[in-house]
Symmetry: C2
DNA sequence: GCTAGCCTGTGACAAGTTTCACAGCGTGAG
DNA sequence: CTCACGCTGTGAAACTTGTCACAGGCTAGC
């Protein structure tokens, strides 16, 4: 029922709220959070309906309580293990990016088919041979996988992952993956993003914010 | 008038069509292309209305003509230069990713504020000091910039880029950039993508908490 | 030459998402 | 105490995006 886009914004709100918390703020109004996030106040309030936390009309939202509500809504109760497949340039950058930062959502295993990479520890993560993927994914109850392999290996890999029990993929390959309906795919397509940006660089982009 | 999402799909269609072309296909039907792209046939036809190319009811679309039509619709007539700012792990991966592959949309300059990176050639791209950004962007008529710097430098950088004449940003920083309305921002937020994937990995339907 | 079949292009409709607008309430000023 | 204010939560309107369904037309086979 809760939409894709709402989930994405909740993730963003949480990060912004954590910053506010670090800055010492105790309460926050929807319009303030909206301004930080670049959306409207009504949208923030609508999104927060999904998590079920109620703010006070006089002070707004209690920042730490709201963070906790979003956390219990978004995060799996027991944490969630993530597998990274493909330890090339992009895979290594992703590992570095997430390294240690996220306790509840960490990359617990890396895989590659290249024997030169297998056995190495990359940014704190051991690289297993791709053949062991089904066993390790099952043993560690990994539900999410990041696909960062060459394009021609992606579809076969996706099928292996799904057979091994993965429920959700983050796909960095610029080609659509064909998976059964119960599997969620989040595409991160840098090529398309760049081409969109190039298209809108000419012609008119219409946004509403201004420089602070 | 043509929406964001249509542009993204056109970029995808073009890549799929190029693959078909490489495979020797001469004609393609909307339902075939739709199947490759993971969308419906009606959507493909609707999207292609934007580019103005007409297929034939009997053979479908002429692949190479269609590719050419999409190209002339999407790409800037004289090509488009792209700047990359931030030559860290992610920036280097992006450089490697795009290296040489795209003639009409190539990264023509890289920038970093770290003196250790300045002057080095990374994946075929010279790294300039950040201070020279306004001059080089103006001289090379760069309209698109990729933002891959630490989060706390992103907003200031965005303002510098906009002042230097950049019209469009691809933002890899997990925080929204505040820019004037004429500037387009394409967010590529890996953190949010992963959190979305994690959310949908569990049934999604099964909410653990109900009303208090 | 005619009919059956399948395709495209597109108006009309449906679904999904965002914004509007207002009731209701707690707070602080007078 | 009372009033006015400004905020939240939410039904309903507005807008955006995707799908349906069919007219029109080319082709193939008879």
């Amino acid at each position: 029922m809760t939409s894709d886009k709402t989930i994405g914004r909740l993730s963003l709100y949480r990060r912004l709220l954590n910053e506010l918390l670090a800055g010492g703020a105790k309460y926050v109004y929807s319009h303030h959070l909206a301004n930080e996030a670049g959306v409207t106040a009504a949208q923030v309030r609508r999104d927060l309906m999904a998590v079920g936390y109620n703010g006070s009309p006089s002070h707004g939202y209690d920042v730490s309580e709201l963070v906790e509500s979003i956390r219990s809504f978004l995060d799996a109760p027991k944490g969630q293990g993530v597998a990274l497949v493909g330890v090339g340039n992009l895979g290594r950058a992703i590992l570095a990016y997430f390294n240690g930062r996220r306790p509840h959502l960490s990359i617990v295993a890396a895989f590659d088919s290249d024997p030169h990479k297998v056995g190495r520890v990359v940014h704190g993560c051991y690289c297993h041979p791709i053949e062991e993927l089904p066993r390790i994914v099952a043993e560690k109850h990994i539900g999410v996988a990041i696909v960062a392999v060459p394009a021609n290996e992606a579809q076969e890999l996706a099928e292996t992952l799904v057979r091994s029990g993965v429920r959700s993929l983050v796909n960095f390959v610029p080609a659509p993956l064909h998976v059964p309906p119960h599997v969620y795919v989040e595409d991160v397509d840098i090529t398309t993003s760049l081409e969109k940006a190039a298209y809108f660089a000419r012609g008119g982009a219409v946004r509403e914010e201004v420089l602070p």
